[in-house]
């Protein structure tokens, strides 16, 4: 029992500019649940992709059953019985449960010719039945997926993962989309798999789940291995410390900016399903950090402030005057801009030249009687793109010809050019390399220095701790706490965001 079936030894993975995994170790044991802990950006997703053969490691060894192995493709790892259950599994709504479980791997009839083109439907249904009952999921394999609940669909996804003879099962934040009852069922499933002798890697942000299910833990931080051990020998405080410990202030260019009068006041903002009772204020020169797990409602609140969400009640005041924001246009006119998380998808028009992207939100302001003045468009683009050091041959260049990083800069330049009072940055450093991250942080300091107020939504704790003057912590659609920079400790913030055992 104490011999690892699957191990990673000193495994590294490098992307241009980022070391995603830096010599990490991981051991999984048959019949045991190992919890993998780490903040966003600690390298957990990269690890899963390396284990399942989507990425090939740049260094280190993968040991399976005592022998070193190499995965050239997901197929290789699948063949050894390593299978992953993701947060959102891709399933087909119009196919039956059995078809979904065996899609791409249908059992074939046995004849000399039929094995090439004739699916053994009855075998497929019986085997589906077996797998489903082994995980205590009771449903008809012939049912169309569309008719199932989200929790049931999730079980189908799990059954699909187990349709191969699984030896190692990776559960990547499996409870994120589930209801309380369904989570309970999932716990039972994990225990069943454990009893069947499978080695389980359990990735989650929720400490209650870790203490309820896991036997062992491994902690990563910034792509590095921090430590491992038995759950029974540790506690939440210790784990949080391992996850977040570092000297925060040193790496963040936080400037002391004089905080001015109140600029934005939000009171009692409510939405029917996403969030409720959101009240906060924002002062000139301030950086307000909003921390919460994915799905905590933080992005939804910001989008509501920007006028992209319907069915929102509550009041928003700018400079003490109530403003009505029903569309992004209203928000922009009132000096509130929102830089979305998916900057390429939501931020730029690839087919248009740089300068036309910059002028996009304020064409009415730049135009005279509906006629665009190309000169003023160009000078605006020049001014802001130079300030952000966008690298391009000329400002008439189409954005699609720029690198990803420069495309991001164009998005930010576009919003800055509107001369906003409040700028909302949603995950401002997501998906960019460490060097650029520092530049973004420096830039945020400059922004507040020049009299703006910034709301920074982030799930990266160090960033929140390092840059914010105040921190709002959100959980399940509510602001659970507001912390001043002095009061906030990483431990406090993390536990508040994950369900709150620490009292303020």
């Amino acid at each position: 029992m104490n011999k690892a079936i699957f191990s990673l030894k000193k495994v590294s993975k490098v992307f241009p500019g980022v070391k995603a995994l830096d010599g990490v170790d991981l051991h999984l044991y048959p019949g045991q649940v190992t919890a993998l802990l780490g903040e966003n950006g600690a390298g957990k997703s990269t690890l899963v992709k390396t284990m399942t053969g989507i990425y090939q490691p740049d260094g280190g060894d993968i040991i399976f059953n005592g022998k070193p192995v190499q995965f050239h493709s997901p197929h290789d790892s699948h063949a050894l019985g390593i299978t992953a259950i993701h947060q959102e599994t891709v399933l087909f709504d119009d196919l039956t449960v059995a078809e979904n479980i065996f899609l791409g791997n249908y059992p074939m009839k046995k004849g000399p010719m039929t094995k090439y083109f004739s699916i053994d439907w009855s075998a497929m249904v019986t085997r589906s039945q077996d797998i489903l009952s082994s995980i205590n999921a009771h449903m008809d394999p012939n049912q169309i997926l569309r008719e199932l609940s989200i929790g049931q669909k999730h079980m189908v996804g799990i059954a699909r993962a187990l349709s191969v003879d699984a030896k190692v099962v990776i559960l990547d934040e499996p409870t994120a989309a589930l209801s309380h009852h369904e989570i309970h069922e999932l716990y039972e499933l994990v225990n069943t798999l454990k009893q069947q002798g499978k080695a389980i890697l359990f990735i989650t942000h929720k400490f209650d789940e870790i203490f309820a299910l896991a036997d062992r833990y491994t902690v990563f931080r910034d792509g590095c291995y921090v430590g491992e051990g038995f759950i029974k020998d540790t506690n939440e405080g210790q784990l949080v410390e391992m996850m977040v410990a570092r000297s925060i202030a040193a790496t963040y260019p936080k400037k002391d900016v004089e905080i001015g009068e109140t600029l934005l006041e939000v009171s009692n903002l409510c939405h029917t399903t996403e969030f409720a009772n959101i009240s906060f204020s924002l002062k000139k020169g301030e950086i307000l950090g909003v921390y919460g797990l994915v799905g905590s409602g933080r992005t939804e609140v910001m989008q509501a402030l920007f006028g992209t969400t319907d069915h929102v009640t509550g009041t928003v005041k700018m400079n003490g005057k109530e403003v009505i924001i029903h569309s992004p246009k209203d928000a922009i006119e009132n000096g509130i801009v929102y830089v979305p998380e998916e900057r390429q998808k939501q931020g730029i028009v690839l087919e248009l030249p740089i300068y036309q992207n910059i002028s996009l939100p304020q064409m009415d302001r730049l135009a005279k009687h509906g006629n665009l003045d190309q000169e003023s468009e160009m000078s605006l683009a020049r001014q802001y793109c130079e300030r952000l050091q966008v690298k391009a041959s000329c400002w008439e260049e189409k954005v699609m010809n720029l690198s990803g990083g420069n495309q991001q800069k164009v998005v930010i330049a576009k919003w800055l050019a509107t001369n906003p009072k409040v700028i909302i940055l949603d995950e401002p450093t997501k998906g960019i390399d460490i060097g650029s991250k520092a530049a973004v942080h420096e830039f945020m300091s400059e922004l507040v220095d020049s009299g703006l107020a910034v709301i920074m939504v982030s799930s990266e704790l160090p960033e929140i701790m390092g840059m914010s003057d105040r921190i709002l912590v959100m959980n399940e659609g509510l602001i659970v706490s507001e912390l001043s920079r002095a009061d906030a400790t990483p431990e406090k913030v993390v536990s508040l965001a994950t369900g709150g055992h620490v009292t303020c």
Partner: protein, 335 residues
Amino acid sequence: MLRRFIYSREGILSMIVLAMFLAVGTISPDFISVSNSISIFNDTSILIMLALGQMLVILTRCIDLSVAANVAFTGMVVAMVNQYFPTLNMFVLMLLALGIGAFLGAINGLFVWLLKVPSIVITLGTMSIYRGATFLLSDGAWVNSHQMSEAFIGLPRYEILSIPVLAWMAIITILLAFWTMKFSVWGRNFYSAGGNPMAAFYSGVNVGKVQFYAFLVSGTLAGLCGYLWVSRFAVAYVDVANGFELQVIAACVIGGVSIVGGLGTVVGCVIGALFIGVVNNALPIIGVSPFWQMAISGLVIIIAVVANASSDKDKARIILRKPEASVGSAPSQSH
């Protein structure tokens, strides 16, 4: 500037059109005479105008299949009005054509904007409805040349500087379109709303409204072309311009208007229409068998679509040059 144009898609396409034009000239020298060139342009005028309207629609990720039916309906209405009120001023009649066309276009646009019905569905429906309405209106009867007033038939044929009014209308439409798409906020919105509706929305552009405007313009131009068509061929009947919407869309596609939206220029679109115009006028002159004519027209469109598809592929390659996609090149960099 010139160099850039030559290497652009529009440049290459115009070169092909010019080469085709000259090649036919070697077979039939009269083909490339000034008067024949004017007559080819005149013959293509309606296609150019409709293609420019269609371009706006396609830019915003929609399609307008009802343009030809709109031409037939508006043409029939103005022809019948002229038949019963022959003294009515042509200016009023023209406004009527524009108004009816705009109304029919607005119906499409409202469905797309407010009810979010996919444009291919709604215009497929209105295509039949408008043609059906033409039938109901006329009871299937034709309006013939002797039932039309002299001014009604004469206007598009009236020559200013040896160029017929029909062609002048196309020229004015091209200039207006060129100016609008390049220099007005309104024109720019078609590109942003089609190129990335999400980003346009976040930038304060009302994407649905922009789509509505596209259909409105397409319909208005179709209305004008309804009058021009009926007047040019001096006959109005239910099947006027039957299937012409496909030529209009083909002109856009050949001209480099991306069928997935956001890409396309006025110049390209006009050259795309001229391409079809030259082919249409050249085929009878060089005596290609009628069966081959159909095959050649089809082949030309497929080649254009394939060319567009491969340029879209280029586009995708550039987009994918992001962290995720550069994985493949990572190992070589680390060693």
